[in-house]
């Protein structure tokens, strides 16, 4: 099966920061949560995919085509939403829709656009500059979904939004993914959102992709052990992914398969995995 996203040994140097080399394959028909701390390289990766930055090395393919060979027609298959709506803020809804109609030509689906505008109850006469952050995000998502895109690249779309709007956004992504030809890559700090929607989790840290695994397998394969310092010494070091020490002992994030089955373990969240791994690296 063709991958929706393929990054092969992609490398980019930006000042002191180096992204990669990163290799990543995202199969069609899934939602990938792209996680990592601030400055880890999430936005840089998405900008590389969108052609806003150029890779120093490696190859990027979206929907089977090398992005260097992208034609305007091919770009219509890619939808994108950033953490802000980067269109002239003097536009009102009508202007913004008209702009996108002209931009996407025959691919533009007015019916879908209008249905989202109604669903989000977006104001028609207000200039975008007077839209709330949530409204801007809803409008951005409306535009990204109104030209038949087969791949959505979302860079922190839910940051700064209230839980209700975030939930709406996730619902829409889950509806979108019902078509098995559609794929979503979403970077976010709000890991509970990704826990709800993502099929895969890709974790980037200091410019390196540490893993991309199926979310359920990832969560089930790990557990948290609360032990005394003495007990912790008996644990196979290769089982330990991360460690947190406190005055009553230690908490270990471990691979379940590498510790004795009879040990009592707490369930982990994606957030636990991210925090433990980053803190482990800092230590």
């Amino acid at each position: 099966m063709q991958n929706a996203i393929e990054l092969n040994a992609v490398k980019k140097q930006l000042g002191n920061f180096t992204l990669g080399p990163i290799s990543l394959s995202v199969p069609k028909g899934c939602i990938v949560g792209y996680i990592g701390e601030n400055g880890a390289g999430k936005s840089t990766t998405i900008k590389l995919m969108l052609g806003l930055l150029r890779a120093d090395e490696g190859e990027i393919k979206l929907l089977g085509n090398n992005i260097k060979d992208f034609t305007p027609e091919m770009k219509k298959d890619i939808g994108y939403v950033f953490d802000n709506l980067y269109i002239p803020q003097e536009m009102n809804l009508k202007n913004a829709i008209s702009f996108h109609e002209k931009l996407y030509g025959s691919a533009w689906d007015s019916k879908t656009c209008n249905s989202f505008v109604d669903r989000f109850n977006l104001p028609h006469n207000k200039e975008i500059t007077h839209f709330s952050r949530g409204m801007k995000m809803q409008l951005g998502l409306t535009f990204a979904l109104s030209h038949g895109a087969k791949l959505l690249l979302l860079d922190e779309p839910t940051s700064g939004l209230d839980p209700v709007i975030r939930d709406d956004v996730l619902d829409i992504l889950l509806e979108y993914i019902q078509d098995e030809n559609n794929t979503v890559l979403i970077s976010s700090h709000i890991l509970s959102d990704l826990e709800k929607a993502a099929d895969y989790i890709a974790f980037i840290h200091k410019g390196q992709l540490l893993f991309m695994e199926q979310k359920d397998e990832l969560v089930e394969s790990c557990g948290i052990l609360s032990l005394s310092s003495e007990q912790a010494r008996d644990i196979d070091p290769s089982a330990i992914i991360g460690k947190r020490e406190h005055k009553f002992g230690v908490e270990l994030l471990v691979r379940r398969s590498l510790v004795p089955e009879n040990m009592d373990m707490d369930k982990v969240s994606i957030e636990d995995i991210m925090i433990y791994m980053i803190k482990e690296d800092r230590q």
């Binding site: 969108l50 930055l53 002239p88 008209s98 030509g105």
Partner: protein
């Protein structure tokens, strides 16, 4: 490209409306003073003002980040901006031709095949210099250049105003030479200047990262 021109017009609708108002007022002033022939020179300023405003707005809304992944080529993004400059230059040129043909302004009688490319060069030259600089250095540094160009244009206006006779002499001398060849050279120059400026801007913009 339609979308990009539309975006530029909508984002600057208030400034454009003000500019139209200024042109109308200036037309009236020039007409009452019998200086209608100076009106096309105002079209030298309009593209400079607009280019500065367009780039300023783009920087403010970070619109490049939005339109580059959209179904347009980078060269088309640059072309859309040049299209506006060229449209304004054509407008200035058309006004110069109309004034000449109506002949009520007392303007110098210049053959149309010289007036046409000559006015086009005048009205697009500074923008042709300004645009690659804007693409290279961005709106902020571009504004400094913009102020500098303002002085150049005003000095030019003032020089022309004070040296009508000199201009007349030059035009007379030129008109005594082979005017058709001169017209052809001017036309070629107009095309070359604008084509070179466009090519440089496309080169700069295609290398840019956002």
């Amino acid at each position: 490209m339609k979308a990009l021109i539309y975006k530029d017009i909508v984002s600057l609708k208030k400034a454009l409306a003000a500019l139209v108002g200024i042109v109308l007022v200036l037309s009236f002033v020039f007409f009452t003073r019998g200086q209608v022939h100076l009106l096309p020179l105002f079209f030298v300023l309009i593209p400079i003002i607009l280019v500065g405003l367009f780039f300023g707005k783009d920087t403010l809304s970070n619109v490049d980040q939005y339109i580059i992944p959209s179904p347009v080529r980078r060269s088309t993004i640059v072309l859309s901006r040049y299209a506006i400059v060229w449209a304004l230059a054509a407008m200035g040129t058309a006004i110069a031709l109309i004034i000449q043909f109506i002949g009520k302004s007392g303007a110098f009688i210049i053959p149309w095949y010289i007036l046409l490319p000559g006015t086009f060069i005048l009205t697009s030259l500074i923008s042709a210099i300004q645009m690659p600089l804007m693409y290279k250095f961005g709106a902020e540094k571009g504004r400094i250049i913009f102020v500098f160009l303002y002085f150049v244009v005003f000095s030019m206006f003032s020089y022309i105003g004070e040296n009508k006779e000199l201009l007349g002499d030059i035009v007379e001398k030129i008109s005594q030479t082979n005017t058709v060849t001169l017209g052809a050279i001017l036309a070629l120059l107009a095309i070359l200047i604008n084509a070179a400026s466009y090519a440089i801007s496309v080169y700069i913009y295609s290398k840019k990262e956002f």
